[in-house]
Amino acid sequence: MNIFVFVKRVPDTESKIKIAHNEARIIEEGLNFVLNPYDEYAVEEALQIREAKGGTVTVVSVGSDAATTILKKCLAMGADEAVLIKDDNPESYDGLRTARIIVQFLKNKAGDYDLLLFGKQSVGADNAQIPAMVAELMDLPQGNVVTSLEIEGSKGSVLREIEGASEKISFPLPAVVSAQKGLNEPRYETLKGIMAAKKKEIPVISLEELGLDKEAIKPQISVLKMESPPERQAGRKIEGEPQDLAKQLVQFLHEEAKVI
């Protein structure tokens, strides 16, 4: 099995997001960046499949040099190879743009593959677009938001999370699969892994090398404005006897909030 996993560097979920309003971008200084949590499940799944069936796991990130740290983490977890597709452009929130870069990589640089794994979305842009877009542009089957993946010969089957249930989907390989929390329990890096990852060379591919000129990667999305969410006002707070508290709470829901 030849598996590619696509990963992204994102601010960790504990981050407070501050905004540079005139430039419609977030202020990155002071944020702690990590491997996108959903991508961790994708990497773990790839490693488990390789351990069961052999093959290679290659992790790929589209981003600036800073993405090297998350690629190193994936190598330390046990990935065989890592590739950085260097893109110094600021976050565009345009999923198709990134999907096109990945597709160009797959067509020109990747060779053969059986499985393309992604996190179901990045925490940040929250687009959840790229796996389905890559699947469409490469004419492949897709299984998105999966909590279970099984490979039998040249076939895959997944459980995909939907509202209050799961869809069981089967498809021939190669295919695109995106990971949801619950798929597995990602492993920690080992010391040996970290040492090996340090020494490992990470090839860097430029957008030009992929044959993408400025026009091809121009975003079709323009960010007109970026704002903080409206601040909520703290309301009333009550203390006292449980019986009385319960009564007041129901009264609030019924008479003031009118939700019950």
Binding site: K16, I17, I19, L96, G164, S166, M226, E227, A234, L253
Partner: protein, 325 residues
Amino acid sequence: MILVFMEHREGKVKKSSLETLSEGKRRADELGLEVCAVLIGHEVDNLASETLPYGAAKVFVLENSLLSRYSSSGYAQALFTLAEEVKPKILLFSATAMGKDLAPRCAAKMGVSMASECTGTAVQNGSLTFIRPIYAGKAFITVGLSGIPQVATLRPNVFPLVEAQQNGGEIVKKEVAIGENQIKAQLEEIVRQEGSELDVTEAEIIISGGRGMKGAENFDLLRDLSKLLPHSAVGASRSAVDSGWIDHQHQVGQTGKTVSPNLYLAIGISGAIQHLAGMSSSKKIVAVNKDHEAPIFKVADFGVVGDLFQILPPFKEELKKVLSE
């Protein structure tokens, strides 16, 4: 034309699709366009009449026996074929599991970028802009889309329904050509969870439990409340999920689901920043927590300081009284 994809499950059009159609109708009126709806499947024309009263000038019904079950590639092909013919300026989906799976596949097929999970739309200088949360709601962006059609998914439970009325729209049935090779993946079956509770993203009321619940068995307290309240669901914080007390499907927050119910009841949830991001667009928030300094109280419209295990039993009884009135 604004074209709206109508999702149906188990012989019913989804309410969130009707919400999306309603928003389409409002913006179409402003832009001087008509709004049309599209249903895909096999023997689904009876659903078209459910859709018409929400302002659709036409409801396209795309029929093919290969589309009797949802298929991202098959549905994308059907929508693409229709779009080639009717050339919509805007194509909208509800951001449900299906909408989020299908819309990007469709957008890529059409060669256009899209906006995900929008919570607002607006007309600016004669074109539509989209407002959407990023970082699970820690920030919001307003975006313009230069491709045609403009493709977006709209978050469920955010956009109000237009008043349904008979407006003489038209049902247009079309047989679409789909090759078997265009069904890339087969939907084998839908596996229901036991108990089959409502999903948090679809619920009008969410009763959510956190670390303060102390154990899996205590979530029954929340399930009991949920049974009393129509259109409600049980939610959870990340620490409750990571402790194995409840399935991840229920998790609200940045590595779970982002929700905007009419009422969010946070029970024993301290209010970590990644949790607040996922629920602070709820219309009303009520918190029960024994720590009167818990951050959740900063966003709660109504805060109850006390031991949840002492408060929930009388709360349930009081609730029953009011509901039976």
